[in-house]
Amino acid sequence: MKTRFGVCAAGVLLLSAVAVFAHHAFQAEYDATKPVKVTGVVKKVEWTNPHIWFYVDVKEDSGKITTWGFSGGPPGMLMRRGITRDVLKPGDTVKVEGFRAKDGSNNASGGNVTFADGRKVFAGAAEDVVPQ
């Protein structure tokens, strides 16, 4: 299994080489210079077009809970890549890496999702910048 994850990481890196030169609404909506990396519990998943959204409750050092919203790929694109709506469920503990919304809100693109057991998926769109 370790080998598979190693190869998976290589695949993500390879994808990123493509995506960095690609573009879509990502550039209009997110700031590629402001990476976001949080760990928390999935609160809600909107399996909707044009991009899925999922929300993660993150517990800060003060104990306060902050909800982050992440935008992923379009449902059809994810399904065609083998990611169905039941891959990401409320209650799951996840680490999410993406890039913050340009308006500075607690929203971000949601490229990489890592589950508590180490499994990692790229949930972004083809045009999204992939976190390194």
Binding site: R4, F5, V7, C8, A10, G11, V12, L14, L15, V18, A19, F21, A22, H23, H24, A25, Q27, A28, E29, Y30, K43, K44, E46, T48, N49, P50, H51, W53, Y55, T67, G69, S71, P74, P75, G76, M77, M79, R80, R81, G82, I83, T84, D86, V87, K89, A101, K102, D103, S105, N106, N107, R119, V121, F122, A125, A126, E127
Partner: protein, 261 residues
Amino acid sequence: MRKSSLSVLLWLDVFVIMTASAWGQAVPTRQSIPRTADGKPDFTGVWAGPGFTHRVGPNDTDTPRVSNFDPKNFAPFKAGGEALFMQKETGEVLHDDPTAKCLPDGFPREALAPYATQILQHPGVVIFLYEYMHFFRVVPTDGRPHPKDVEPTFMGDSVAHWEGDTLVIDTMGLREWTLDATTRPAIRYHSDALHVIERIQYTDPMTASYQITIDDPKIFTRAWSQDFGMKLHPSWKLYEQVCEENNRCEDGKCTAADAQK
């Protein structure tokens, strides 16, 4: 279910760095090029166009990617043409990326989108159904010319003819719009004089070559071409793609969701 889905994804990542032949055994295939009753090649089916890697994985998967035109293929610019083509960012999203506001990507950018395309072929007509934004093109193949006084549109007016086994599509009547998805260092626009020629030809029973020729006399000194590929995916169907449904981050302004209130 969740485990199997993740497994598919993991294998997808594997397949990104492997050759298609190593993982393609499960994909339905065929031995010869299908033809319609009149003997023409039949492109009917759901295809992954230029916006995919064309490395077929388990369960007929493919990897979407954003394709753009390569500057190495560009013809020299006419005087003033580069300024029309490479337009500087203005900070106004309607200019910098109209699709972020769910406006059409238009042709030929639609053909490069990382979404599937379904082709339906009937005597005298080829129909393209594009998954991205639900666009379509109904292209006569009966030899008729473009109509006179074409009103410029996002998708233009297309007519086609056959040159042997190659389907040749001629498109004009396109309004000035973004040529592809490139925004850095500038947004690429084509003019309202753009004339596009597509040439589609089977290279084997499951793949086709797809050449796009850009003839934009207001921008370039001559026409130039780029070669892409198309891969047939027998198990695919078109998914619904609705830009307006939950486009919550327009213009970089991310509306607060119920979950955050």
